[in-house]
Symmetry: C2
Subunit: 343 residues, 2 copies
């Protein structure tokens, strides 16, 4: 490798440079660059030409400080690896598209303390609004958000009290409804497979709703299998083999997400089990990515894109009905029976 030289650490250009190059006052240059209407076409031309020729990039830090306005929306999610969140983000991006607002993402890795840090960092940039996954935060994080004076939208979950607004589904209800669909199909020896969930509150709530509905029907969860780390087909396969080895008489497996559910389905197919006759399966999320297996896995659509969309609309003030902030939007989780719950 040849000894490359460092790039010149040049002083960034300022409005003043453009002003001097164009012979127009800084103030007017500023007006042109902010696309304000009250500038004569002639000056506008001159300024734009000079700015372009110099390669001027405005300093938003100074601009934000002076104007007390920041076109940023903080978005705090547990993880980018989860496939679920990219879809939420795409909804947010879509809704923010022509609002002049820019989303800025931060990940917490499902750790409350890290979430607190990320929120603190973001708030210190004085964003226009915040979108945060989940309703459970540290006391400090809750206080910071509540005192921030900006719209705060908690997303994905509506089982609890929001700081300001919330948009999501009830995971308790999602768990309950899946349990009801399973019971209605006649399954009784039901196992659950999911992540260890010290801090995955939504998975926990789903399981609570699920067992609750089972118990209401006099059915007890027959087995449980937990895992740590990321979700993958292989993980689902492995867990399924394990739980069925321990309890071969299970007739239904409920997974905490579609990825491990699909892995479990692969195991069952390879083991020659009859799905959905001998054993039924269901996941959670409605990951389209995974359509394409011989059988469609039963799942619950978590409305991820729409959640992002609605949350961003609230933050950007697109919902115009006189109210500001403090909205509660509950979307309906839709159970899709696929091919893995018998009719």
């Amino acid at each position: 490798m040849p000894p490359y030289l460092p790039p010149e650490a040049q002083r960034p250009l300022t409005l003043r440079d453009v002003s001097e190059a164009s012979g127009v006052s800084e103030m007017t240059v500023s007006r042109v660059l902010r696309n304000r209407a009250d500038v004569s076409p002639a000056t506008r031309e001159k300024v734009l030409a000079a700015a372009k020729a110099l390669g001027y990039v405005p300093n938003k830090i100074a601009g934000a400080l002076a104007s007390q306005r920041v076109n940023l929306v903080g978005v705090v999610i547990p993880s980018l690896a989860n496939m679920v969140f990219p879809e939420v983000l795409s909804g947010i991006s879509a809704a923010l598209e022509d609002s002049g607002l820019q989303p800025v993402f931060g990940a917490t890795n499902y750790k409350a303390e890290q979430e607190e840090n990320v929120i603190y960092e973001m708030l210190s940039w004085r964003p226009t609004g915040m979108i945060v996954a989940g309703l459970e935060h540290t006391e400090a994080a809750t206080a910071m958000l509540a005192n921030s004076g900006i719209p705060v939208v908690e997303i994905m979950d509506v089982d609890g009290e929001p700081i300001d607004s919330m948009v999501g589904i009830s995971h308790r209800r999602a768990g309950r409804e899946m349990a009801e669909a399973i019971l209605a199909a006649g399954y009784r020896r039901i196992g659950f497979l999911g992540s260890k969930m010290p801090d995955d509150h939504r998975a926990r709530k789903r399981l609570e709703g699920f067992t609750e509905a089972l118990e209401a029907a006099g059915v007890t969860l027959a087995a449980t299998e937990h895992y740590a780390g990321g979700s993958s087909l292989a993980k689902g396969r492995e867990m399924t083999a394990a739980i069925l080895q321990r309890q071969p008489d299970l007739d239904f497996l409920y997974y905490s997400n579609d990825m491990i559910g699909a892995g479990g389905m692969l195991h069952c197919l390879d083991a020659g089990l009859d799905i959905p006759g001998q054993i039924g399966l269901a996941g959670f999320n409605g990951l389209e990515l995974l359509d394409g297996f011989r059988l469609r896995l039963a799942t619950t659509d978590a409305c991820r894109h729409e959640i992002g969309l609605r949350a961003a609309e609230i933050v950007s003030g697109k919902i115009e009905d006189g109210l500001i902030g403090a909205r509660r939007i509950e979307l309906a989780p839709i159970v899709n029976r696929g091919d893995t719950i018998r009719a």
Copy 2:
């Protein structure tokens, strides 16, 4: 839904508020909050107590303007939906963990113009460094990056000239090596399935390297199938059915990514084809997520995590050998023959 009230739009607290509450000068408060050593324990206590009691969150905008330092690294990638990029990001996050730097992500949706916008927006926040996927940008974007005066690392690809530094694999080489592995295994009627790639330069380069190596052996690509939109198992399945219908005599299918490759594998298995005897398959990326199928799809590991790691190290100046910037790091794409190329 009851008529919730908007949150109080309170004036955010300033250093001055903390100063008054603690009876310590603004400057000293600032020192305490930046963890500087030259403050007596007593005052430190007082200040921290006051800051905490008030719920003070510093204003980084003002801080950045005054200090001319911003602890942000801009990261520009085509898409968050691609699964490939989250892994790069995790490498970046890991490397930046305790450097005091924070990554900020922006997506371009594979559009050069959108990339230019994102880069412009990011540079206007005067980040400490930039990490950008790919070597192809608009002229304006290239100029902005080159003139930014900060470290710029282009990642994922090394087939071309970087603005400053680059870290990645050679996609030409990746295509070539896969072609060689396929030819060595005796396959000759080879088809390619990939996205329409007006702007997916890396997929294009892979295909170029691939056909180049085939032609060097006197073999011509026997068929091509293109698609638009996101990758999914279903899409891979569908494309595979289509290409095999048109040309049933193909004995190998090379996919531009593992997701559609896995879908294709499902199709072939369901169609009762003998893999890898009758037909061989290969994808690209090395997505661990997809391990767990009966057969492991042949693929090329694109070293995504390591790319992110190294890029972030360059930006954060962690590589200490006297050089600053302008590095070229080529990682080796590793061909994994899996179970879908015969021995």
